[in-house]
Chain length 197, copies 2
């Protein structure tokens, strides 16, 4: 059985997403642009990090990572990842309304799970087999798995600026103990890896 | 002129002190013990870290780092650092009520500054000469200097557990940009150094 991993880009004050998410600004106004400008467009970190993330055999994401929640499903809308999402495997979307699975180009299939994070993890583990399950985000979903002690390897990519407001990793995650595994500093980002204690 | 440095031990969720500080529990119930047990009693980090901190030529601390604020000064009370505090140099205490300086054994003298962080830093710089000024804490004091962009080198010593509640580094520090300088992982703590941008 593989590991349950999570990669999350955060600010120095652990904000992983802004509060006002929308189709135009999935990370909230300004936040996404700053993360991308500071972390991924410098090139040095991009290929490794992305390769490690998409190497998982299955993915779990929250409702807001798939698309904005406007109440009932708009079945013409297939998420904001475009026709060929980068996952290229099964993605289990935590949500409250059932929906048929959506098969995209390039191997990504979105499955919609209404029974909560535990069920989503069971399904993802079964789909991943020996490979890892990656908690793809967002912050609220990651915090739910952290609080339940279900994340084997947490990789935080810390951008060196504060945002001050937004959804933070570890918010309401009390009493979690992990083991520091590694850290790496580049001029633009600090990569921290923690393993489950 | 030396640097303005700050060393702060924090939890994974950036809590540097509990909310209910008292004479018995200066970091708040449970918090201090956990930090010390996890970070300093393992030995490996202790001498280096402490040497680097007390190498400064002058120190700045908040009122609660000197002792609990019970309203008027109790002049028999000389802070909770004991008769021979570890600083061995001038310590400028931010406070709202004037008090005569207190000279302790071993070279530590507490000076009480009622004109705010800017004045305290001027006095500390003058006292330190070519040596560094260390922001000794607590969290509120550190955040004030971070928000003002006055910290040249911030060293966070991150214990690998969450506390969930307490005073956090970077709270209300918006728009701060720093440069990642180094990171080091031990089995018990992650040391992160950031420099002023």
């Amino acid at each position: 059985m593989g590991l349950v991993t999570a990669d999350m880009s955060v600010s120095l004050d652990l904000v992983g997403a802004g509060r006002d998410q929308s189709l135009e600004h999935p990370f909230g106004p300004d936040v996404g642009e700053r993360f991308h400008a500071r972390m991924f467009e410098h090139g040095e970190d991009s290929p490794d990090e992305i390769a490690r993330i998409v190497d998982a055999g299955a993915f779990i994401m929250g409702r807001h990572m798939f698309g904005p929640d406007r109440g009932e499903w708009d079945l013409d809308w297939q998420g904001w990842w475009g026709p060929e999402p980068p996952y290229r495997g099964p993605v289990f979307v935590l949500c409250s309304r059932p929906r048929e699975s959506v098969e995209m180009e390039g191997g990504t299939t979105f499955h919609f799970v209404t029974d909560g994070p535990g069920t989503a993890l069971e399904l993802a583990r079964a789909a991943a087999g020996e490979r890892n399950v990656s908690i793809a985000g967002g912050v609220t979903t990651l915090n739910a798995y952290l609080a339940a002690g279900l994340v084997d390897e947490l990789r935080l990519h810390v951008a060196p600026f504060t945002l001050g407001d937004g959804l933070r990793v570890f918010d309401d995650v009390t009493g979690l103990a992990m083991v520091p595994a590694s850290s790496r500093t580049t001029p633009h980002v600090t990569h921290l890896t923690y393993r489950r204690a």
